[in-house]
């Protein structure tokens, strides 16, 4: 027999990043909120504790924190002439499961876009001419500017306690920060982690050292996932491909 639960103002189905932010906002506005999420009950102290949380076979290879594709999955094709087939294992993207969703296993980096990434089509056309981008390439401007979005970046970063060294505060380049950043209104929500220093790069057979760009890091969650903190490349790549963002 169905159990009838007490009525609430809002029910959120799926408590990942999006549902989590919504739940917080609705609760803060005085609504009674219930959120539903599937999967095992996990707790930080038991399930994300050293040393087992470092088990790469279990988590990185066998995807224990990810959605279980044996239960349900997507079908995928690479172009319209193919027949879509089930994605039988996760691969190119890793949706999460249980409370927190993908926020449980993310790499802990929250990069802001630079100003130019919002108007990449205009900038390419300005620089290389109208005919530079092929007709069938659908890349376009976002129709919204960095400046318009800045207050929301700020609000999210303070909500999630993102740490980092600001590179540009109201147009003033900050020593030790990322000089390529678009301006932000104020300091980061939390102090930057100690930086292990510059990264070594190889160029033309000769070793050079570049100064590193301090990353904006989700501090609370990053503490659980320190082994992955060094990996900035995938997110940086995503940043450069606005057409792929979901």
């Amino acid at each position: 027999m169905a159990t009838k639960l007490k009525e609430v103002d809002a029910v959120i189905v799926g408590l990942g990043w999006t549902g989590g932010i919504l739940a917080k906002e609705l609760a803060a506005a005085g609504l009674k909120v219930v959120a539903l999420e599937r999967g095992a009950m996990r707790s930080t102290d038991k399930d994300f504790a050293l040393p087992n949380v470092r088990d790469e076979l279990r988590y990185v290879v066998r995807h224990e924190l990810m959605q279980n594709t044996a239960r349900d999955t997507l079908t995928v094709r690479n172009n319209p002439s193919q027949e879509a087939l089930p994605m039988r294992r996760l691969g190119s993207f890793l949706p999460g499961e249980v409370v927190g969703g993908s926020a449980v296993h993310w790499s802990g980096h929250t990069w802001r876009w630079t100003d130019m990434e919002f108007k990449v089509r205009s900038l390419y056309e300005e620089r290389y001419g109208k005919n530079f981008i092929p007709e069938d390439m659908t890349i376009r401007d976002w129709g919204i500017t960095y400046a318009e979005l800045e207050p929301y970046y700020d609000r999210f970063e303070y909500t999630a306690a993102i740490s980092g060294k600001a590179g540009n505060i109201q147009g003033q380049i900050q020593p030790g920060g990322n000089p390529f950043e678009a301006p932000r209104a104020r300091l980061s929500a939390a102090a930057a982690h100690a930086d292990p220093g510059g990264r070594d790069v190889h160029r033309g057979g000769e070793e050079q050292r570049l100064s590193s760009v301090p990353a904006a890091v989700g501090q609370r969650l990053a503490r659980l996932h320190q082994s992955r903190r060094g990996e900035v490349r995938p997110l940086r790549l995503l940043r450069l491909l606005p057409a792929l963002r979901l």
């Binding site: 050293l50 040393p51 087992n52 470092r54 088990d55 790469e56 076979l57 290879v61 066998r62 995807h63 279980n68 594709t69 044996a70 349900d72 999955t73 995928v76 094709r77 690479n78 193919q82 027949e83 087939l85 089930p86 994605m87 039988r88 294992r89 691969g91 982690h193 100690a194 292990p196 220093g197 070594d200 320190q226 082994s227 060094g230």
Partner: protein
């Protein structure tokens, strides 16, 4: 899919017919009854009865097999000792437990298809559409070993584990390049991909899984293991060789 059906109409068709084993039949029966049902292998129960001689059972380095039968165990031992030979870099594969890792992995949830979508439609698909066989990793392994040994018997007159080093190399290169194809229709390269993956996992996963014994794989590549924070070491060992004294989960527990 099309390649496969034109192959089936070609030279191999006769043989497949003789064995009553077209590719689709193979795949279908594999789904229903497990791949072992389509190939005549010694049953696992028999192997388990025969295997543990008292001396072997007492040997901590070789605790015996939970999944692999005698023929499969011989194959896997030969495979890992060929792919990871004893040399200046590491002891040989069976001495660092890669065979034990593989046996446990196949007996585990992963081997049984945990997290693997196992419902139709079953089509071969493009390589970019990923794994599409209706076989769990354990079923694929079992069928692949049988098919590889059948290939070896046909080509060299004996199973893989009794081949010499040069012949083993030839077989494995053949699997990895697609030069070897299996008469029963199992895609050899898909089997190879899984073989290679499990050998690598047995070499580099935490020793709790039975492989990477004495952290030999981690020592080889200078991997520090499961230590909590690497940040200080990045500064401390810049431009210096990292002294690989890796820490495993058991060391930290």
């Amino acid at each position: 899919m099309q390649d496969e059906s034109s192959n089936a109409r070609g030279l191999k068709a006769e043989r497949l017919k003789a064995e009553g084993l077209g590719r689709r039949d193979f795949l279908k029966s594999a789904v229903v009854g497990g791949a072992a049902a389509t190939v005549s292998l010694p049953q696992n129960a028999g192997a388990q009865q025969a295997a543990p001689a008292p001396a072997a059972a007492a040997d901590a380095a070789n605790p015996g097999y939970g999944f692999l039968n005698l023929e499969e165990a011989a194959f896997v031992e030969a495979l890992v000792d060929h792919m990871v030979p004893a040399d200046a870099l590491t002891p040989k594969g069976t001495d660092i437990g890669i065979n034990i890792f593989i046996d446990r992995a196949l007996a585990s949830g992963w081997g049984k298809g945990e997290r693997l979508y196992m419902q139709g439609p079953w089509k071969r698909g493009a390589p970019s559409q990923g794994y599409q066989l209706p076989l769990t990793p354990a079923q694929l392994y079992r069928a692949g070993i049988a098919a590889t040994n059948a290939h070896c018997r046909k080509t060299y007159g004996k199973p893989f584990d009794r081949l010499d080093e040069k012949q083993r190399e030839e077989v494995l290169m053949g699997l990895s390049t697609g030069k070897v194809t299996f008469d029963d229709g199992l895609p050899a390269r898909t089997f190879w991909t899984t073989l290679y993956q499990t050998v690598m996992e047995g070499m580099f996963s935490d020793p709790i899984y039975g492989g990477n014994r004495n952290k030999a794989g981690w020592r080889l590549i200078g991997f520090p293991g499961v230590i909590a924070v690497h940040r200080e070491n990045i500064v401390k060992y810049r431009d210096k060789k990292f002294p690989a004294d890796p820490v495993s989960i058991a060391d930290m527990s």
